[in-house]
């Protein structure tokens, strides 16, 4: 099923949680809503599920208006951040719940329910835990029970709210891989919310980056990483060095650094900022032009990469990441002068000050 969200707006008192949000989820897609806390991503997910009402805008499921439909008739599976398992029911009964509450005419026979639940528990690799209670399970196991419970009603859309937020790093990794395999197997249209850019990029086919109730960018993981649409996206998707300067005559000038910027060929100067990721900075011992001299203030070897902190004459610290081999070629130590040159800079003009 496809989901079409258009012009959604939601306010809580004076706080605007969603501000005219529109996007489409294609059938079979695994889409990530990525953003910091308070960016409106969970609110958006809850509106799609029907747990929250939008002030304006519409949600269409396969072209049908879903807003008027009660959550119980929307055919969505929802996995809550803290799982929300029924604590007085066994794992088996948790998964069976969605089938047992159906109107009598649509309710499967007891034997069918048993078979379906056992199949689902096998799918999430928990078939041996059917008679346990949620409090007797680990976080990762609870998460998978929550998923099995959501899948039991054969939803047409699966919505996951920070699905791995409360788990430790190793379990999170495992569950991520597992969820990707599961999605490849059943091809269920899925939307998950996360504040972890790594999770979004690794798992999703498409990423919608949100900030302050608005969509900053909607694209493939590669798009978002390689062609960030706004400074916010650059900032949010990982560590970045920021250079402040101006653009003029088709060039961006950041102190001694200059890069081509054909988007602004005018003679009138505008303030702008340049963004380079730590691995996009090259370090050498000679002045190669287009960069600046800086002093090494810290060197840390972490596995195959070397992390360096350098400071230019403005006392502006910059983070640099080099491959082990590249580092071996220059072997700069703390206190030495190196020439730093960005291999890639993304330039964003700042809004003219009013």
């Amino acid at each position: 099923m496809s989901i079409q969200v258009s012009h959604l707006t939601k306010r809580y008192g004076g706080f605007v949680a969603l501000n005219d949000v529109s996007f489409t989820v294609q059938q079979g897609e695994l889409l990530a809503l990525l953003g910091p806390s308070g960016s409106g991503k969970t609110t958006l997910l809850r509106i799609i599920a029907g747990l929250e009402r939008a002030d304006a805008g519409s949600v269409l499921f396969d072209g049908d208006d879903a807003v008027r439909r009660d959550p119980k008739d929307r055919g969505v599976g929802f996995v809550f951040q803290h799982y929300a398992l029924f604590r007085h029911m066994t794992v088996f009964e948790n998964v069976a719940f969605g089938l047992r509450v159906r109107p009598r005419a649509q309710r499967p026979a007891e034997a069918d329910i048993r078979r379906r639940v056992n199949d689902l528990l096998a799918l999430v690799q928990l078939d041996y835990l059917g008679d346990r209670y949620p409090s007797q399970l680990s976080g990762g196991q609870r998460q998978r029970v929550a998923l099995a419970r959501a899948l039991a009603v054969e939803p047409k859309v699966l919505l996951l709210d920070e699905p791995f937020g409360a788990l430790d790093a190793k379990v999170r990794q495992e569950l991520r891989r597992w969820l990707r395999r599961l999605h490849a197997e059943i091809h269920l249209t899925s939307v998950f919310v996360t504040h972890d850019q790594e999770e979004a990029l690794e798992l999703a086919n498409r990423v919608v980056v949100m900030n302050e109730g608005r969509i900053e960018q909607d694209g493939t993981p590669e798009d978002v990483v390689e062609h960030p649409a706004t400074p916010f996206v650059v900032n949010f998707l990982g560590q970045v060095n920021i250079f402040h300067g101006r653009v003029q005559d088709g060039q961006a000038l950041f102190g001694p650094m200059a890069v081509a910027f054909p988007e602004h060929p005018h003679t009138e100067a505008r303030t702008a900022a340049g963004y380079s990721r730590p691995h996009e900075l090259a370090v050498s011992r000679t002045d190669e032009g287009g960069g600046l001299w800086a002093i090494v203030t810290d060197v840390r070897v972490s596995g195959a990469i070397v992390k360096m902190e350098v400071t230019d004459d403005q006392r502006q610290p910059m983070q640099v990441e080099l491959g082990r081999e590249q580092y071996e070629q220059i072997r700069a130590i703390i206190g030495e002068k190196v020439y730093v040159k960005p291999r890639k800079v993304r330039v964003f003009m700042e809004d003219p000050s009013p």
Partner: protein
Amino acid sequence: MAGYVHSHAAHRSRRGGHLTEPPLVRILLIAVALGFLFLFLVLPLATVFIEAFASGTEAYFAAIREPDAMAALKLTLIAAAIAVPANLLFGLCAGWAIAKFDFRGKQLLTTLIDLPFAVSPVIAGMVFVLLFGRQGMLGPWLSDHDIRIVFAVPGIVLATIFVSFPFIAREIIPVMEAAGSQEEEAARVLGAGGFQTLFRVTLPNIKWGLLYGVILCTARAMGEFGAVSVVSGKIRGVTNTLPLHVEILYNEYAFQAAFAVSSLLAFLAIVTLIVKTLVEGRLGATVDAAPVVPPPS
């Protein structure tokens, strides 16, 4: 490593020894506590039963089987049987409203629920007399329509509801607040309707808290004296509850009968306490078993 753990444990137990008072002090403290309990709780309770049976079992059962006593017992049970379900319903509504919604005046409602705890029961009784009595605000209208509330069974039921209504609401509000509304939301998304959610998710989650509240409410409803005494009029065999009947017997110097009827009340109280202890155990167990923050796997 093993050596370290060993010395650590040894250190702990040594410190434990330091912190414990000398045996004499311990014995003294325990003796004082037990002696106090015996003097003020066990002895009076035992006296009730001893005095009740002082003239033999025959006299005991005669005092209880006496029509006025039976009528008082019946009225007490009727009042409790109406007050407890009424407060159960109110408690559930109030608990639900306070725990799951945000609305204006929520704080006020929470405070108002405690009002019967703060107000003397006698005043509660007076309020009903002033409202529904012959000289009361609604008195003329009620007597025109031939409805009797004060000095009749409805008044007793009303007074009982008033004094016992905080118990259930106060027990389930914290339980419901701790449970949050996520499980209800999960039930809704899974296709459950309102009643299915209530009976399959909400009530099972709060059942022990609810039962505990019901027990406390029942105990209070059966034992209430002050408020009921004001609205009852103490018409023997008609508007007398057990506590009032005990007082009447006592004032008439029918000590043995007074104690016999008291023993009934004491017996009801003891049963309630036993059930309460059992339920408390379960309440603690379910709270332990369901941590609000899931532990890391």
